[in-house]
Structures are given as C-alpha cells and as structure tokens.
C-alpha cells in the first residue's frame, strides 16, 4: 500500500516533470528565488511603494493591465514591430553581405560607407528620424532594421568568405550557375555565421525596440515602461520590465532556437552546450 502510494506520487511528479522539462524547472526555481528575495527585501529597505513596489502590487497592476486588454495589445504591437523590423534588417544584411562577400568590386565600393554608418549608433539617429517622420511605426522599423543590419551583414560577409573553395569548385563542376551556387553552397555554408549575426542583432534589436518605443510610440512594452515611470505608476513599469524579459525568452525559444536546430545542428556543424553536459 505504502509503496503504491509513493509510486503514485512519484509518477505524479514524473508527469508534471515531463510537462515542463527538467531544465525549465531549474529556470522556474531561479525565478521563484528572485521573487522571494524581492518580497523579503521590501520591509528591509522600507521606502514607499512608489519607489519600490512589492511583487503583490506588481501582480495587481499586471492583472489590471491584462483585464483591460492593454497589456495583450501592447505585447502584440511590440512583437509585430520587432518581427517586422528584424526581418527587414536581416534580409538587407544577408543581401548586402552576399554582395560584399562575393564581389571584390562591391566590397571596395560599399565597405567604407557601411563602416562609417556602423560607427553611428542608432540612438543618434532616432531623434532625427522622429523629426523627419514623426512618432510611429516608421521610426521604429527603421531603427530596428538599422540595428540588426550590421551584425548580420558582417557575419554574412565572414561566412561567405570562409566557404571552402573546394565546395565552390564542386558545385561549378556539377554545372551550377552563380545563382545556384549561392543557393546551394554559399547561403547554407554561411548560415551558421548568419545565425551568429542574427542572434547578436536580435538581442540588440530587442533593446532598441524598447528604447524606440519609449521615444517614438504610444503603445508597446517600451511605452508601458516609460509611461508608468512618468505617471508615478512604477508597478506598471515593473510589469513592463518583466514582460520585456519574458518576451525575449519567448522570442528566443519560439524563433531563434528552432531555426538553429533545423539547420546548423543537423549538419553536425555545431554542438549545443547542452549536448556536452
């Protein structure tokens, strides 16, 4: 009887575990720890709710924001802007990266200009963009694609230039045209590099998104953070910050990791850290 009960409990835990992977469990534990620290630190620090809201206050604000539909709408806006901006930046980065990586002429012509603009951080542009186009989507999209463009571009160039010559020769001997060479050899060979660029760019762009929403938007997670702080609703600001973190985890998990798993891992070109554990 007793053993059966234990078995039952074990299998209960097991099924719970299988619901959330063991690694995710460790992540959840870490989060709970931070929450506990936060809650216990409130009386110790002893400043007003406005300066340092409690987890409970933040939870209340979050529930309110969800009920009124504000938070879902903001998340939708942010996510949409992010994906659109990153897609534009990635596409342009890959295109120019192929061009520069492939053609010495294009490289000589474009590299100085591109390096020049690389040095001008996007933050410097945003006020000017707002002046030109007013607040809104255009500013955010341009800012995001600008941010993503450079790491994708530089890594694509690197990827293209490091394709083994023998693979290029093999494709040409099998009858490949230049376009087919790019499709069948250059792009897939450069993909691990392009992903490195995308990963870098995706992280930068996410920060850029929040920043440009603070300045140039009337909705979105960045706006929520900014508005909360300027309207003395710090609990909302913290909701925004937490959502920002969760959103990034979501983006990483839903978009970036699966893409990598689909391509790079399968060819045996990269080993994930987890495999080496």
């Amino acid at each position: 009887m007793k053993t059966a009960a234990i078995n039952d409990r074990n299998s209960g835990i097991a099924s719970l575990r299988s619901l959330v992977s063991p690694r995710a469990w460790k992540g959840v534990l870490g989060l709970l720890g931070i929450l506990a620290l936060w809650q216990t630190s409130i009386p110790l620090i002893g400043v007003s709710e406005y300066f340092y809201p409690s987890p409970a206050a933040v939870a209340r604000a979050a529930i309110h924001l969800v009920k009124t539909g504000i938070l879902p709408a903001y998340i939708g806006d942010s996510l949409g802007r992010y994906l659109a901006g990153v897609s534009i930046g990635v596409t342009l980065g890959i295109l120019f990266g192929l061009l520069i990586g492939f053609s010495a002429g294009a490289s000589r012509m474009l590299s100085p200009i591109i390096n020049f603009f690389f040095a001008i951080v996007e933050v410097a542009w945003i006020p000017l963009f707002v002046l030109w186009w007013g607040y809104g989507l255009k500013v955010i999209l341009v800012a995001l694609s600008y941010i993503v463009f450079f790491p994708v571009l530089y890594n694509t160039i690197l990827g293209v230039r490091s394709v083994p010559q023998v693979l290029i020769n093999a494709a040409y001997s099998l009858g490949a045209t230049r376009l087919q060479l790019i499709q069948e050899v250059i792009l897939p060979a450069a993909l691990p590099s392009i992903f490195t660029g995308l990963r870098l760019g995706a992280g930068f762009a996410f920060r850029g998104l929040i920043f440009s929403e603070m300045i140039a938007a009337k909705s979105g997670v960045g706006y929520l953070i900014f508005e909360g702080a300027s309207n003395q609703q710090t609990d909302r600001t913290i909701v925004g910050m937490i959502v920002m973190g969760l959103l990034w985890l979501f983006i990483e998990r839903i978009y970036i990791r699966p893409l990598e798993a689909l391509t790079v891992d399968r060819w045996g070109l990269a080993t994930r850290a987890e495999d080496r554990e």
């Binding site: 023998v166 093999a170 009858g175 993909l191």
Partner: protein, 261 residues
C-alpha cells in the same frame, strides 16, 4: 580505341603566388600530355609533384600561367558539368544528405526530385551506399564519403571524369569492387577518365596508359602503355598475368627512379 584527342595539355606552367608574402611556387612547368577520347589515363607521381594542380587546370579551377589546356580543341576557361571531378578531399556538401549530394548535378539541371532520387539511388547501389542514403556526410566514414563523391560525379554523366585519388580512403575489399565497377561504367558510357593515384598497381589495373610525373615542378617523366585486354583485368587473376607484372614492375622502377633522382 579512337585516337581523337579529348583533352590537350601543352607546355603547362602552373604557379601558386602568395602576394602578401611575395612567395611564388611553381607547381608544374613544361607539362605536356594528351588524354584521348574514351581513354582511361592514369597519372602517378610523388606527393607534391603537381597532380592535383594539373587536375585543377583541366577542371578550370585554376588558370595556367603558361601553356594551354583545351578540350575538343577549345581552351578551357572555367569549370563545367562536362568535366566531372572527384576531389581528393571529397567535397560533399555537409548540409545535404548523401542522396541529395549524389542527385545535386541533376537538380542543378532542373531534373524533378523523384527522377533524380531514382538516378541517385542507382549510383548509391553501385557504390554500395544504399543504406546511407539519408545520412549526412559527417555521419559517414572516410571511405563512405569517398564512395559518395564518386557516385555524385558518376550520376551527373560527365564526358570526362577527373578523379583525384578517389579510392585512397576505401578499404582494400571495397576498392577492388569499385575499381571493377568504374571500369564497367567507363566502358559502358564511353567516358574519358583522368585518374590520379599513388598506387602503381591500381594505375596498371585501370589504365590504358600511365603518365609518370617527375617530382615538382611536375613534368612528364614517362608514358607507359598498358596493352592488357580489358577482359583479362580481374583482380582474381591479374596477378598471374605476366604482362601485368612486367608493366607494374617497370612503372614502379620509373617512380622509384624519381625518388633516387
């Protein structure tokens, strides 16, 4: 055999120039040879004598510094599907399965997937790789990669096969099978083959003629004819063939003579 010249290499000089370090390496100089149509020509010579470089020039990967390389009387300017290459380093695309690699040439020509898969499977069968069709190159052994590379070139039906030590990494048993298969395919499809090898035995077994190169910069040291009839070329019996033994020993001596020089 027809005496028509398929590929003509005249007074070929190939150089590798490293502009940054100001180093110039002469890989071949004054190299002249013909490959006749439908001929099986073997090239032997010491390591570093310029065999792979010669192949690169014929394939169109590298431009001659001097002399000419031509096919059917026209100068070779760039690589093309008419000259299939089996690379010393296999050169399989790591992101394609074995099946996709072998079908790649057909894909580039716009052949539909079902048809090119069928053709690829046939050549995988010949090279004993059917079981590995869905594997990726990094999952194969060296010998399997080499067989896949051979299958890929064969499946593309080139007029000329340029093969750079294609069986070097294959086990002895498989090598014998592949050599016999290659001769059969070459014969059936009236291919022209330029076959680079380190093994004199292999060269005598496969070749109509053998070109022996000098140490680098490579030029032709000797041309050895191999008039052994094709129907006598089976590994089971050839070692008892006095003609085979004589040609092998003579060629070996030519290559050894190089080492002494």
């Amino acid at each position: 055999m027809s005496a028509k010249t398929k590929i003509s290499v005249v007074d070929l000089r190939m150089e590798y120039v490293d502009e940054n370090r100001g180093i110039r390496h002469i890989a071949t100089d004054g190299l002249t040879l013909d490959v006749k149509e439908n001929e099986f020509l073997c090239v032997v010579g010491p390591s570093g004598c310029g065999k792979s470089t010669l192949l690169s020039a014929i394939a169109g990967f590298l431009k001659p510094r001097g002399g000419t390389v031509s096919m059917d009387g026209r100068p070779i300017l760039e690589p093309g599907a008419d000259r299939g290459v089996v690379f010393q380093e296999y050169a399989l695309l790591p992101w394609k399965t074995v099946l996709e690699n072998v079908g790649l040439g057909l894909k580039l020509r716009g052949v539909a997937k079902a048809e090119r898969d069928a053709v690829a499977m046939r050549f995988l069968d010949i090279t004993n790789l059917t079981h590995a069709a869905e594997k990726y190159p990094h999952e194969l052994s060296g010998g399997m990669k080499q067989r896949a590379a051979v299958a890929r070139t064969l499946a593309n039906k080139p007029e000329v096969m340029l093969m750079d030590e294609p069986f070097a990494a294959v086990d002895a048993q498989t090598r014998l099978t592949l050599q016999e298969e290659l001769v059969r395919i070459w014969d059936e499809n009236r291919l022209t083959v330029l076959f680079i090898t380190h093994s004199v035995e292999e060269a005598v077994f496969l070749g109509d003629r053998i070109i022996v190169l000098t140490p680098g910069p490579g030029k032709v040291r000797a041309v050895v004819d191999v008039p052994i009839p094709r129907d006598q070329r089976h590994w089971a019996t050839i070692n008892a063939n006095p003609q085979f033994v004589a040609i092998r020993d003579r060629t070996l001596a030519l290559v050894r003579g190089l080492e002494a020089a």
